[in-house]
Structures are given as C-alpha cells and as structure tokens.
Symmetry: C2
Subunit: 648 residues, 2 copies
C-alpha cells in the first residue's frame, strides 16, 4: 500500500476563525476575560470549599460587569436580544474553570432563563436586569430527590390561598425536597421553584393543574433562610466543588399570587386557572421546551472541554519520547500508530461535534428569535436536535478526556495538568440537563412520531406497506445477500490495486451509509413495537424489550446529523489547505464511525467483509496522513494559551 | 420469542464462598478490619491533604499490627511464606479507602517486595521484619519524569567509589528526578532506588551495568531529608489524595556498597561486577519479572472496586422508580431493558475477571513458591498473564464505575455515594504498575514469540508453511465465504423455530470463537510484520503501522484466557442453583464479548449475519433472565455491608 502525498500545511488561525464563526468577537472577549483570570483554576485548587465557592461567585459577578452574561435577554433589561450569543459565550467560558461555568449557567441561563421564558412583562421588569447584572442571585429549583428525569411527577406543591392572594409552597416529604440545586447552599437569594399548582375548585375540592414555576425568595439580607425555608448542603461532589449545590425544603412558604411565572398558566385573584394551552401534557412539554437553552449550552461546554484535553494530550504526545530503536533518540509518542489511533479520531469527532453544535445553536437562535411565530414542528425539531447533540457531545467529553488522561500516563494524573478537574467537573454533564439515556429515548420516540406523521398512523395502509416493503428487503437479504455480490465484485477488482476502497472517501457514500442505518433501525424498532402491541402484550414490557433498539435508532440519527453538519460546513469552505485538511478529517470522522459500528452494516448486507476491512485500513491511513497536522488541528481549537500552562 | 423458564433462586453466601476461595479466612479478617474502620472513608472526606495522609499512614500501621501485611514474607521475618495470601489480602482491602490500599501496596508490596526479591539474606535480615511491621516506612523509587514505561532508559546513576566502598547516587537532570513516588513526599524513611550501575573499569573508563536497585535512606529521625536528598511533593492529584506522592533528586548521596540489592548483580570491594545472568537484557527483564506482584495486585484491586460500584448501582436500580404507565407506581429502573443492558453484562464480566484473577494469583503463588526451580517459560507465561489480566481488569474498573455513576444520575455525583472516590482513585490503575497499552503490547509480542517457538524462526520452512496455509484460507473466504454457507443453513432452519441460536449457549462454541479470533489475529499480524521486514522497510515504521493490530491480538488473547478461567471454574462447581446461575452468567459474558466485536467474526467468515443478530437477541434474553438474580449476584461479591452505608 503506497503512502498518499502529504497534505499542504494549514493555518491554525484560519481554523480558529472558522470555528469561532459569527461570534468571533464575543468569543474573543470571553477569551480575554479568561486570560485575565488565567490563574483562577490554579488558585482555587487548594482552597477550602467555602472559599472556592465564594471565589466562583465573585468571578461570576465580574463576568456580569464585563457584559458577558446576558446576550439573550431583552435590550430593555441590559441584554442584546441575541440568543445565539448566550450559547457562544457559555461555550467559550468552558475553556476556564468549570465551576465558574456552571454557576454562570445556573444564574443567567437557568434562573434568569426561567424568569425570561416562563414569566411575563412584570416579572421581567422586576428582576431581569438585576439577574443579568448578578445583583440578584438565584437558583433553578426543579429536580427533587425522588424525581430527576420525570419532572412531571415532582411532589412540591404551590397551593393558592384566595384569602390572602398568595401561593403556599410545601414539600410534602423528603422525596420531594429539591435536590442538587446549584447556587442554593450558599448564595441564592431567590429561586424559580417548580411545583404542582393546586387551586381550590368551585366545589371546594382542590384542582391540580400540573407543574408550574414561581419566583420564591429564599434568603434575607443577611443571607439567612427565610421562615419556612430549610436549606441543606449536598456536600462534597465528584467535581464542581466551586458550585454550592443544596437541598431545599419548603414548609408553608407564602409568596404573592403574582409571583407565579404565568406565561403558560395563570390564576386569577378569585382562584380561576387559565392557560393559553388547554392540553395539560402539551402545556407541560411546551414549558419545558422553552428551557432548552441549558441543554444546548451543556453540550457545547462538553465539546469545549474536549478541546482543552485534546490540546494538552496532543502537545504532550508531540514532544514526549519513549522507547524506540537502539542507539537512536527514543520515538515521539505521536509517531506510534496506536497513539495516532487514540487521539486523531477524537480530534476529528470534536470538529464534527463543534459544527453540529454550531448548527444547533443557530436553530436555537432562530426559533427563539421568532418566538411565538415558530411552528410547533420547528420547536420539536429543535428539541430533538438539542437532545441528540447534548448526549453525543457530553459522552464524547467523558470518553475524550479519559483517553487523553491515560495517553499522558502518570503526568495526566497530576492535578496541575488539568485532567483531574476536567474529568471530575464534566462528569455530571452526561446526566444533568437531561440524562443522556433519557434524551436519546426522547430522540428515538420523536423519530417514530415523525415516521407516523409521514405515513399516517400505525394502523393505516401506507404504514403497513412501508413496513412490509422493508420486511421483504430483509428477507431478500437473508437468501441472496447483497453483501455476497459486493464481495465478489471486490474480490474481482482486487482491493490492493489502486486506491484501497476508493469510494470510501466519497462524503456522499459516507452519509448514505449513516442514513441507511438510521432509516433501517428506526423502521425495524417501529415494526417490533407494533408487533408487540398487536399481540396484546403489556406495553411497558414491549417497551422495555425494545428500549435498547430504540436507543440504537436514536444514536444512529444523532450520528447522521453530526456527520451532515460537518460535511455541510466543509462543503461551504473556500478551496485551500484548511479545506483539504478538514476534508481528510471528515473522512476520518465518518470512517471511524463506520468502523466502530461496522457490524451493523455487515449484518444488514450494506458492507461486504472486504469493504469492512478496507474501512479499517482507511482509518489507519488517514491517521498517518493527519499526524503531521495534529498540532495545527488542536491549535485551531483556540484554547487560550494562558490556560495551557500545565507542567507537561 | 417465548420467555425461558425462570432460574431457581441462588444463595448469595454460596457465591461469596466461591469467590473467596481458599483464602476465605484471610479475606474475612480483612473484611473485619475494614468493618472496624468503616467510617474511615467518610471521615477523611473533609480532611486537608496532610491530615488525610497521616490518617492513611496510621491505618497502614494498624493493618500491620493486625498481621495483614506480610503473608508473602519469609516466616523468619514475621511472614507466612504465602505469596497468594498477599494478593488475597490486597484484593479484599480494596473494598475500603483506596489511598490506604495504595499506601499499603507501596510499603509492603513494592518497597518490601524489592528488598525481598532483589535483595539477599543480609538485606532481609536487616530490614524485612521492620518493613512488614511498618516500623520502617519506604518508597519504591523507579519511575522518573522522563521515563515511566521505558525503565531501562532511566537516568539516575549509582557509581561505585572503591576508595570508600560506597555507591554514589546522582540525579543528572530534571528528566531523571524520581517522580510520582508513593510514600515519598511525607513518610518514607528509605527507598529502593533504581539506578544505572556504574563501576570504574580496570582501564579507568566507567563500565555501565544497567539498572539495579539500592537501599537508600531518605530521611533522618526528625523526618528531614538527609544531606544530598531533595524531596518535592506531587501536590494534588486526580485521586488518591491520601497517598503522599513525591519527587526525589539525589546529589552525591553515598550508601555502603552492601546496600546494593545484589541478587542479580553484585560489585566486589575491588569494584568487580558479577551477575548470575550474563545477558544484560535478560538480567534486566528477570529483575523486573520478580516485581510482578504489584501488577497482579492492581488488577485484583480494580475488580474489587468494580464490585463495590456495581453493588451500589444495582441496589439503587432495584429500588429507584422513574416514569412508567399512567395511574400505576412508576417502573423500577432495573425493569427497563436498557438498564439491564447497562449493568448485567458488567456484573458478568466482573465474575469472569474475578476467576481470571484467581487463576493468575494461583500461578503467581506457585511460581514464586517454587522460586528458582521454576522454568523460564513458566515465568514468562506468568508475566504475560499478569499483564493481560491487569490491563483488562483495570480498564473494566474504569468502564464499570463510570457506567454505575451515570446509572445513578445526580445521586451518583455526590461524594457520599462513593463513586467520586472510586472513580478518581482507580483512574490511575490503568497507567501505573505498567501502562495498559504497553502491557498489551508485551502480551502481543509474547504471543508472536510463542508462535516463533512453535514453528521455529520466521525464516524457517515451517513458519512459512503456517503463514501460507492461513493466507490460503483467507483467499478462500474471499471467494466462497464460509459465512454464506452458514447463512443459508440458518435461513433454511429458520432461526425462530425452537431455541434461538441454540448452540450459542454451548460454552465450547463460545470458547472456540474466542480462540479462533486470537489465533487468526496473531497469525495475521505476524504475516504483516514479516512482510514489512522482508520488504526492507524501517522496522519502527513497520511496527508503528502494525501496533494497533498487535494490540488487537493481545486483547483477543486476554479475552480468551478470561473466558477460559470462567468456564473452568463453573465446570468444577457442584450441581445446584448457583452453578445454574453462573452458567447463565457465563453465557452472558461470552456472548456480550462476541456481540461487542462481532464485526471481526463477520469479516472473517466465522459468523453469519443471521447468527450475529441471534447473538444480540441472546444477550437481550440473558439480561432479562438474570434480572431477578441481579441482587443475589452483587450480594455474592461480599462487599462489607458497613461500607455500603451510602445515602442512596
């Protein structure tokens, strides 16, 4: 196998500009802020928890002073009406200490976001400017000990008392205590509290109206909890020690009726409940949907943390020598094939996820800028894309940081080299702002719904036909096996003549492969679910059996949209060495994914055994080709140099 | 697909007895010790680093008082001449705080082990009893900043000075400082220091004799470093904060000539070097081989930590409810198919690795008990098995603990629930006591050497024939494809009639599958290496290209010996519900591995696409069958209940 010609040298600055995109100026300002506070993550390393938390609070307040915290708020309250800017600022801030990032997200995104999205003009007028300026610190009190993912079943109640025109907030039992609430243990003066809304009905019986949010003061001027509010500390966590996560119990806490964030449901002084959305389920999911920003942001932060880890590990690998031929200098780690295999596909995937995240952030910006003018379908698509991207991005962060730590050996274990904090702080990204498994499940169910929309209900003729056609294809594969044809063709052609598996490097082919997998798995899980239901089995039993399959459908969808985003981006680049480099990187990303799950295509006759082996060879070759450009690629990530002063 | 009949209830106590094996009594004593100190890991949680380190030291001293620390030392020095006991004690101690474990390992295993294995009678006489009683605390100073994996290239020198009958220890540059040395920053009074031995030759030119170890005092009675010794602190690490890792520089430090641990190389008063092993490479690897105990122990500790994590996560999953059908109690997490898929294969793999570790520990015991009577081949086999088991076991720990943390959501992120410490403390297991990638490389190279031994050198006729036969088989597969035959047979039989893929549940078939993979990959990487060499390419270039392939061969070997150990153990069990349960668990372990890498068998015509899909279905079915026994299986791990008082 002859080596391909070397790629021309690319400019890391051009790559950074490409990644920074339309928010380059804002990202630059956040980088300057981080550079100014470059020693922060070192200084806090040895602080006690309370001091660390206070330092984090101080830095969040400083970020507000630098106008980095409220791009998405209305201009009337100090913001810039720019939702996308919020995401870009958050993503960039993730190059620094992640406790600062999470505290920032809780304050301006979750707490402020709840006021902005679920509240109405009087609420904005009362609080939004102070929140954006970090003069009013707050929490987002949704999760309870007994209910994390299943928010609809939380136990906290907000009962309307017409006698005083107030809501009374109560925690019925310890399962319903608010838990893991960021900002609560130490700093929050107030919280957006999610509770089951209860209104005395005309017949005297209480009416339940489902989950709503209220603005609830938590602490007095001295910082002491207000009467009826009990606050505990979650104590030491796996990471993010600079965030003061706490627990909150409410015992008959009274707030004015007007503290109900009433955009999607209101109660009149007389105790009459009204809502612009009649269906309670739809109302609940609409409310939750307005809070998608947190999910969008966390995925972006995961990608940023991966960039930091990969920059440190790649620079180490390009300098560190170990073993090698006798009598010569030892070999540079990055010249080992296995080391290339460890790092380069992760770099490629980080670029791909970055572009997928950019697309997501743009959709988010457009949907939220359009506001009520956006279609239900468009909003649902955004939520699905946010869930898919967040799950892939945060799992990628966990994987990439772990691989980078191990690739730096003992040096990677020292806190000074940043992996300790990166690993511990990002760990919770996979389960907060939506547990990744639950998110993929949502994506999977969404895909089934889309299928249903396209073909009518599961009972209609078209659907049956659709299912039928696929079933016939499956049967045909069993007997004549498309792969056999491909195999014979490969053997006849002789895969070592010329470019090995030439058309593997065709992006259209790569995307077709990922599309095929997505469509086939989605169709097949739909058939299984339908068959189980038709046979009258217990639906939750049927679901449990198909869950793994449904998640595979969701992953396949998510992988497809990531590749699509990468290819779309690269196709729009001007000709030049950077485009050539990213084209190669795109091949590596696509083929590494096809290699990872090649069994699926083999099993479904979409890949011959010879072509599958060619995929592995192509990944090897691409790693070698990209090796001389590894430093350029990580320099392109634009991690502020001041944050890369680790020992190694 | 009909559900199989439920398995009979098994007794967790019987499983624990099976796992504890011949060292049940000793393991019981260690469990008692941990139970007595059950609050230790909670108490140290909030301590400052120095206090934590001192508490750890104190507990290690207490373990010595309880006679848990020196099973493997000679009876003459307070030990029990029982190498296997050492491993069993260490493995069991890993249920507790892992800083205590690692400090214990450094003191009694690495430091004491070096004195025992590399020293001779006068050294044993002088120090071994005090080391075992923790009266003389010490370090194992091998790794340097510039050389972790490649020990043979370390820079520290020990130069013999005939004028004073002393060795002079020097650190030539910062790359040669001793680094990450456990026990060094605070407590060690002495160290086993590895250095390049230099002796003035008869012609006045210094002679290099390679790496040797010396006993070097580090601190005086007051704890201050001795003249010429400089000690730094590695500071905060990713985990194991209770271990005082440090850096050591030597500047003209003099020790008596007799402090050379001289079992494998000695220097006379006149400065004449002698060794029972002439070949310097063989001598080096023999010396290193005597230190295999550390590697054996770390793998075992990884398995133990996985047991703790899986017990916590499985108990949580069996109690926690989230989502479910309207109007009914929410569904228990463990009743979700995906949750079963997340936890049960990890439980199965933990059992499999336990038995592989048991086999390794027995081999270790036998080889070291036999001492010099053991053959070179037997020692090499032990080292290969230790490397393979350690790599798989510690990567498994990283994977299992991460999965368990995520499976417990936000609760998993709280330090009180133990995953924080488990994750951080075990993380370094994958790269210390041999970096896993380097270890698998050793295993892979060993397999190639075995092949060479079997068939003579690469140039001989038999080898060429062997390679040739395989090559012909490969060609045949390209054209007629054995899988096609299998596929047609499956299709004809109709895989839904009767037991799906019946013979998948034949252990002989499972093992044959893993053997085939191992043999084929090893043969194929041998051919690639040979072809590259024959073509006159740069050997390091050839190696770099084949490294990924070589590591795949090593993994395949490691997986085979793990499955073999599991099957061997289960086959020796008496009939009964525990055996029936472990047989099922064995199927799950084997088929989950075949499913994970099914692409390989598909590509090599050893699995038809239909059979591959049956493997996936069988894994699903086995998870459902084992679900009612999940608690029994984790209870069987025998984690001391006093250590399972986490919040969740």
């Amino acid at each position: 196998m002859s080596e391909p010609a070397p790629l021309p040298a690319a400019d890391a600055g051009v790559l950074t500009a490409l990644l920074d995109g339309e928010y380059a100026a804002l990202r630059g300002r956040v980088r300057d802020f981080l550079t100014e506070h470059a020693s922060f993550h070192v200084e806090v390393e040895e602080l006690g928890r309370d001091d660390y938390r206070d330092r984090v609070r101080d830095l969040v307040v400083e970020a507000a002073a630098d106008d980095l915290t409220r791009s998405g708020y209305p201009a009337a309250y100090g913001g810039h009406d720019d939702f996308g800017g919020n995401v870009a600022a958050f993503e960039t801030l993730a190059f620094g200490d992640l406790s600062v990032l999470v505290k920032f997200g809780v304050q301006f995104g979750l707490f402020g976001g709840a006021i902005q999205m679920l509240g109405t003009a009087p609420h904005h007028e009362a609080w939004l400017a102070d929140i954006g300026a970090a003069k009013l610190l707050g929490s987002f009190a949704m999760t309870e000990t007994g209910h994390g993912s299943n928010v609809q079943a939380i136990g906290t109640t907000a009962t309307y008392d017409p006698a005083t025109d107030e809501f009374v907030i109560d925690t019925p039992d310890d399962d319903a205590r608010k838990d893991y609430i960021g900002n609560a243990a130490r700093h929050a003066q107030a919280a957006a509290v999610f509770a089951q809304l209860v209104v005395p009905g005309s017949d005297g019986q209480p009416e339940q109206h489902g989950v709503h949010a209220l603005f609830v003061p938590l602490r007095d001027e001295s910082g002491a909890p207000l009467p009826g509010v009990r606050i505990g500390d979650c104590g030491k966590k796996l990471g993010l020690q600079g965030v003061d996560n706490g627990r909150i119990w409410f015992d008959g806490v009274r707030v004015p009726r007007t503290n109900l964030l009433n955009r999607y449901g209101d109660v009149s002084a007389a105790g009459v409940y009204t809502s612009p959305i009649d269906n309670p389920d739809r109302r609940f999911f609409t409310m939750l949907g307005t809070l998608v920003q947190g999910r969008v942001c966390v995925g972006g932060a995961g990608i940023t943390a991966s960039k930091t880890a990969l920059t440190i590990a790649t620079r180490y690998a390009a300098g560190r020598r170990q073993f090698g031929p006798a009598g010569k200098p030892e070999t540079v780690l990055l010249d080992y094939g296995q080391h290339q295999r460890r790092l380069l596909p992760l770099i490629a995937r980080t670029y791909a996820l970055h572009f997928a995240q950019e697309r997501l952030a743009r959709d988010f910006h457009e949907v939220f800028t359009a506001g009520d003018a956006t279609s239900e379908r468009r909003r649902r698509a955004l939520e699905s894309r946010a869930a898919a991207t967040k799950a892939l991005a945060t799992w990628h962060a966990t994987t990439a940081i772990q691989e980078c730590r191990e690739a730096c050996g003992g040096a990677g274990y020292l806190a000074a080299n940043r992996f300790a904090a990166l690993k511990a702080d990002t760990d919770v990204f996979t389960t907060f702002e939506g547990d990744n498994t639950i998110l993929l499940q949502l994506v999977g169910k969404g895909r089934l719904t889309d299928l249903k929309d396209e073909f009518g209900s599961f009972d209609q003729v078209d659907m049956v036909r659709y299912v039928g056609r696929q079933a016939i294809e499956t049967l045909a594969e069993k007997v004549i096996a498309r792969s056999v044809v491909e195999r014979v063709r490969d053997a006849a052609r002789g895969h070592d003549e010329g470019e090995p598996g030439g058309d593997l490097l065709d992006p259209a082919y790569q995307l077709r492969m990922l599309r095929t997998r997505e469509e086939r798995i989605t169709g097949s899980v739909a058939r299984r679910l339908k068959a189980g239901m038709d046979a009258g089995e217990d639906p939750s039993e049927v679901f449990s059996r198909c869950q793994h399959h449904l998640l595979a459908a969701a992953s396949a969808h998510a992988e497809r949209i990531v590749l699509e985003a990468l290819l779309t981006k690269v196709a729009a680049m001007p000709e030049g060495p950077e485009r050539t480099l990213l084209e190669k990187l795109g091949h590596l990303h696509a083929l590494a994914e096809i290699e990872r799950d090649r069994a699926w295509w083999l099993e479904h006759g979409r890949l011959s055994t010879e072509r599958a082996k060619s995929v592995t060879r192509a990944v090897d070759t691409l790693c070698r080709e990209l090796r001389p450009h590894a430093l350029t690629l990580v320099d392109g990530f634009g991690v502020p140099e001041a944050l890369l002063t680790q020992e190694i």
